[in-house]
Symmetry: C2
Subunit: 329 residues, 2 copies
Amino acid sequence: MRTLSLMAGLCLGASAWANVPGNEPVEPIAAAEITDPAKVELGKQLFFDPRLSRSGFISCNSCHNLSMGGSDNLPSSIGHNWQQGPINSPTVLNSSLNLAQFWDGRAADLKEQAAGPIANPMEMAFTHILAIDVLRSIPQYRESFKVVYKTDEITLDEVTDAIAEFEKTLVTPNSRFDLWLKGDQQAITQTELEGYELFKSIGCVACHNGPALGGNSFQKMGLVEPYETSNPAEGVAGLTGKDADRFKFKVPTLRNVELTYPYFHDGAYWKLEESVDIMARLQLGRKLSEEEIGKITAFLKTLTGEQPSFALPILPPSNNDTPRPQPFE
Amino acid sequence: MRTLSLMAGLCLGASAWANVPGNEPVEPIAAAEITDPAKVELGKQLFFDPRLSRSGFISCNSCHNLSMGGSDNLPSSIGHNWQQGPINSPTVLNSSLNLAQFWDGRAADLKEQAAGPIANPMEMAFTHILAIDVLRSIPQYRESFKVVYKTDEITLDEVTDAIAEFEKTLVTPNSRFDLWLKGDQQAITQTELEGYELFKSIGCVACHNGPALGGNSFQKMGLVEPYETSNPAEGVAGLTGKDADRFKFKVPTLRNVELTYPYFHDGAYWKLEESVDIMARLQLGRKLSEEEIGKITAFLKTLTGEQPSFALPILPPSNNDTPRPQPFE
């Protein structure tokens, strides 16, 4: 993978990228390499297990639904007791390519991220201790953890490691655009190609580059023109307290963007065309024509890759020793 | 399938069943026969599609979770806006073997059942018209319905028909007990066999018989001794208004009972041992010893069959024409 982080934040002109065969600012998504299938399988079970939540009803897959582009297709998620989440759930697809996790990057990696929602009172509303207690009570889980981690102890570290290992397999190779990148000239249409050229020439690619077309830098939302939202999220400033970081968010991936509506950190926009228009105006100071928006949108839809395909995991049952879910308490 | 409904409600002595090779009151579960794979596939997508709910968050699989024995493993389900459902969600596994659907049998079959939760304000809280509007807006669904039903119209009748067709595939053959029934003497242990003999001799089998060990009759909960519950469900009396039908519920299947906790229509009991004890006392007027309960419980755990195995369905995305979910309105 070429290093593109230096370019983040720059607005590159068309000349920097166009018509340089084999030197595109977007790279194909590589297929997942599974080196530890037992760990991936364990992580998949945990990803689908609602017993990691207080209610016994919410799993990782509830808000990062792998039937729906790794997202919940809601402006912001539904958490424990139907609480409304503060921010749009980003897709888990290709999330291993992000330079950090969450919109504000507060988790360094997928492993650190995975611990967050379990104990977040707005989300799964459990505690790490109780979640581990549930797993420890189940002989089949004890056996799986032992096979993978060679110890009789089940720890949060192992749980999040296994979930992250599964999530690393959730890549979406072989989109039509990737086939084009690899040399299949017929894989995308002329309109889609023109959309890509526009995407580069007007500067979208300055932030949306690399294999994930994003995920590799933080940028201010509303660079040229402010973004109007009722969502109170402050972005990176929420962590650093710095005014300069206000409204700075991780640039989201555009991979599978056709599947990951609604858009932006507040999930306020459902239409891709509208989102392209807003981004061009707010980030690039550019008012696109309807035709230009149409072309870029057509290009973006070529970024839908092969969705992860796997058997729905069967979870080992609870037993008399398993702490019970508390959905209504 | 032998006709066993005449026996329902009778308490059979051991002599009626024991030691009659090939004449057991329990029959093996037959593997699913898929005659229309396109319909099954469509039904699977619909079963997993939360866009059939008002919130865009609750699918059939939310409460009949195929990772967890086709149930949600909660006393009663979580519905729209975190409302608490009035009754325990029965497993969808082997539900095609039921003589009618829901605890009170108010739906004649799976097709009729499938329409219920979509429009139930306590569950998916949508309307049939809006659910159909969502599906109609999605080209891939239109195409799938056309392939299966040879028409350009998507109707509720088709939606529920496809869901039912998928559900009919959710059978669990080849449990250890079924292997034993088919002649493999080693498939169950001596203790489990003794549990089965007790299950027959004390009369459990009077209601829990046939391939599903239940699902083929309605019986009064608390025949000998009343069942104490704070759950207000009236059973069949809620439909007929007859006092004689009060607390009459469909006998639940015991297939996969190890996976479908908590037990009874109110989901009040989590331990299988406790449930066996209660059933023996309330339905048969019999106080079992701990040893007897242990043996019957051991037998019941041999009824866990092969869980349906299939790839998690990938749902076709919404588009600009698709009505949006309303999770918080």
